[in-house]
Each structure stands twice: as C-alpha cells, then as structure tokens.
Symmetry: C2
Subunit: 299 residues, 2 copies
C-alpha cells in the first residue's frame, strides 16, 4: 500500500466517494429517533472502510454492461452487510476486539446492546435497500436477494463465523477445515459481491460462472492474506492488536500449515484467479490488477 | 388461558402444527455444518412458541382470499424474525434474561457468540424464505420484503428495542414515549404480520388500510398486556422472573401511568380494534375473537 497505486486501487479510490454518498443518503440521519441507534450505525459505516465489496460489485456490473450506476443500491447493501458483520464480530461474546480500524469498536462506544442492534438494523436495512432498488433496471430483486442471503446465511458469512467460534482453542485444526471456514466467512461475500454486480449487469450463465470461480479464489486468498497480516503487521497498520489471532487460539491458515505454505496457497489461488480474469469482460484488466493487489498484500 | 378456548385460540391451535412443519422443512438440519449454529437456531425456534404472528398472517390471507396456503412462506419468515428478536433481546448486553418460556435462554445453552449468530442467521433466513417463495401466487416479493423490513428495521422492532435500551433506568418516562416504543418494539411486527397476509391475499388498498389500523391497535395493546403480565404473573406462567421489568428499570406502561390507567388504555385500543374487525373480510369473527382474547389476557 506504500507502492505506486495499481489500476485496481485507482478504481477503488474513484468509487469510494460515490459509495459513501449513496450510503449517507440511504442511512437514517443521526438526528432521527432512535438517535443512539442511528449514531451507532453511522459510527461504524463511516469508519474509513475501503468499500472493497461495493467496488467489486460496481466493477462486475460495469464489466458486463458498460456502466455501474444500476448496481449502486446493491453496492450499498453489501457495505451494510459487511459493517453488520464487523460490529457483531467485535462483540465481547464473539472475537472481543476493542479496536477496529484504529478506533474503539462500536460496543466500546455505544455499549453492547446498542452494538448488537446496530448490526441487526444494518442487516435489515440491506434487504430493504435491495427490495427498494428501482426495478426493471437492475435485475430481478429476488435473484439479488437470493445471492445475498446465500453469501450471508448459515452457508456463508454467518456460518463461517460460527465455525470460527466453534474452532477457537482447538489444537491441530486441519488446513482443509480452515479453508472451508475462510471460504464461508470471507470468501462467500466477496464472491457474492461480484455475482451481484454480474447479475445486475445482465451477465450470461457462462459469465456468471466465471465470476463465481474468480470470486471464490480471490475471496479465499483475501482471508488467508488477513491471517498473514495478523501474524506480521504492526498494530498501527491494521488498527488492532498484532498476533491477536494466535493469542486467542483462532484457527488460521498459518496456524494450520505455517506461514510459508499459507503464502503459497494464497499465491496459487491468486494465480488461478488471474487466469480467469481475462474472460470477465470490459474491466478484465482491473480484475487482473485486483489479483496483483492481493498478492502484494499477502507477500 | 384457563378459560374455554375462543374462536381465535382454536384457530391458533389448528395452525400451530402447520407452521411447525413448515419451519422444520425450511430450517437447516442440526446435522448439517455448522452444527452448533443450526442446533442453536432450532433450540429457540422449537421452544414452544404460540406462533401468533404466523397465525395472524395466515388468518389475514384467508380472510381476504379464502385460503391461507400461499402465505405459508411469509408466516415462516415472521416466526424466524420473532425468534431472532427473542434470542437477541435475552442477551446479557440487552435484557439479560437467562430464562425464556421456562427454559434456559439461547446464550445460556450455546454461549453468547453462538446466540448472536443464531439470531443473525434467522434474520437472513427470513429474507431468503421470502425471496424464495413461489412467485406469482403470493404477491410481489419486493412488496412483501418492504412490509417486513418496515416492521423490523429502525422504525420498527429493532428501533423499538433500541428505545427500550436507551430508556432503561430513566425516571419518569412520559406515557407517550412508552407507547411509541411499544408500537415499534411489538406493534409493528404484529401489524406487519397482518399486512403481509393481506398483501399476499391480494387485498385492496382500503382493506389493507383497515388491517393496518386494526394491527396497530392490537399490537400496541399486546405489549401493554405484556407489561401488565410482567407486573402480575407468576414465574411459572410466563416462564421468566416476575417483576423483572421493574427490577431492571424498564420503561413500561404501568410504570409510567399505573396499572389501572394502563389497563384502560389497552381496553380502549382493543375496543377500537374490535370495531374495525367486522370490515376485515371472511374471517372477521376470528379477528373480533382475537381482541377478546387479548382483553382476557390483559385484565
């Protein structure tokens, strides 16, 4: 991230403001009742997130249909779901993180109860946003909701977090099981972001399958990269305690097979994704660039 | 409830098994991974709930179109949302209830983290169920999802719970504010259950407005009734500690204006609802009976 910014990072920078504006317009004002709830929601939504999932959704839509505007409501919904997961993951009953992106976690500022409700509300708001998106222009809303619930539910992000919790403190978790957990916890929503954009863009089944394959690989590599960052980075860089996974007895890729093999696995996945990228449409070069971006983050 | 069962209670009894079967078919098996998550979900969904909201949804649909089968997926989604709210409300960071329906609360059995995730998963599953319902037969799915998110989000149940939390320990909460909180926390989902059934049945705007008016009244009266039960009932009857609201400094209707005025307010609402009931279609008598059922519960 100290390097010259890549094609993908430039896309990320360009879209961040669009997403932020759309989020601001869609979220209830902090002056509206119940104020503490709305303040808690906005605190975490506007905490400096990269807006990676929304950007992937817009990029996929643009890659298929040449423009990304119809995917804005879906992109907003994805960031709401991502933020919901961060708020709940940080709770004392879950990962018990008091810090997130260099600021106190939601529950530290607003209390546990309000943090739970802020997460709940964001999940509901995400589905409301999808159901209220202008129809006809942006694909069948039921298809979109099915993509999002598949990525979020017990077979997706929430299920992955449950596996994470259940594996905590277990010794010798097989690598295969760590990868299955990571695929659900992180991979499914990243893949879902791409599928959502492709669906809105009107992609064919064949193209959607390519996005699915590409998304599964980059999504899994992203979480292995997170594990590696946790082992190596300084507190300053990731905004929370270093080596916190290990201290907490978390099942991680480097924990299961060591740093080097985890790196190799991430590289293998990213090279495979890179080979798929040229078939992803008009924005193929950005999708190639994304795999390089993740490779730079991992090694 | 020791009285001869009313028309409404007989309807409730008849539909309970249908709902339970449909819930069982829709929920992931406890043998599927992640098992602890699916076990936690099933523990609370099958904890002996009355299935009031599903029954109201089916009854409204039947009242409009003469049959209730098309409303089954929506009814299932409503019970998932209701169960999600009970699991989260009981958490230590929220109402901190170790008992629910005479059994240990979800977090007592499965741990806080798993309970949070079980609630999250039920909310996502509810929207998945709505989005996967056979289309064409059961109204515009986006309209259904909008009804549910309005009833659930920051202007509905979740917002009401946030107000509840924010008002805890406050002295002299104005009655008006308690009623506004109760309307959101409980009233909106009861009203939403009726609106959902009416929408699926193909009700006209005028009929939907009547269901909305009726639902707002019975929903608010229901929560005032809960407050009154909490003041008066024995642990055995409601399955949790008596007078727990007062001990916890909860804002309640009897707390704001005393038992008698709270009773009078519930009665006034139920009489008003009863006057609307005859205009609710083929099942008008059951809707009248429901107001009597609630009156019996309150006084």
């Amino acid at each position: 991230m100290g390097r010259t910014s890549s094609l993908f990072e430039r896309y990320l920078d360009r879209t961040r403001r669009r997403i932020d504006r759309a989020l601001d317009a869609r979220l209830p004002s902090a002056r509206e009742e119940p104020r503490p709830l709305h303040a808690a929601i906005r605190y975490s939504v506007f905490a400096g997130g990269k807006r990676l999932r929304p950007a992937l959704c817009l990029l996929a839509c643009e890659s298929v249909m040449g423009r990304s505007a119809p995917a804005i409501p879906a992109a907003v919904a994805l960031e709401m779901i991502h933020t919901f997961s961060l708020i709940h993951d940080d709770l004392p009953g879950m990962d018990d993180d008091d810090w997130r992106r260099g600021r106190p976690s939601n529950h530290v500022v607003f209390g546990e109860g309000m943090a739970i409700l802020a997460g709940d509300a964001l999940l509901a708001l995400a589905f409301e946003t999808l159901a209220r998106a202008p129809q006809g222009k942006a694909g069948d809303p039921c298809a979109l909701i099915r993509i999002v619930t598949e990525a979020t539910g017990t077979g997706g992000m929430i299920g992955g977090q449950a596996m994470d919790l259940a594996l905590e403190g277990k010794r010798k978790v097989p690598f295969r099981r760590v990868l299955s957990m990571h695929s659900r916890k992180t991979g499914m929503l990243i893949r879902g972001s791409l599928l959502l954009g492709a669906e809105i863009g009107g992609a064919t089944q064949a193209i959607k399958r390519r996005f699915s394959d590409y998304g599964a690989r980059v999504g899994l590599a992203f979480q292995i990269g997170d594990d590696l960052l946790n082992v190596r980075s300084s507190r300053k860089k990731i905004g929370k305690a270093v080596g916190s996974d290990k201290a907490r007895g978390k099942a991680t890729a480097p924990g299961a097979v060591g740093i080097e093999r985890a790196e190799r696995e991430a590289e293998r996945l990213l090279q495979s994704a890179r080979r798929i990228a040229p078939g992803l449409g008009k924005r193929a070069r950005e999708f190639e660039s994304f795999t390089e971006f993740l490779l730079g983050r991992t090694s």
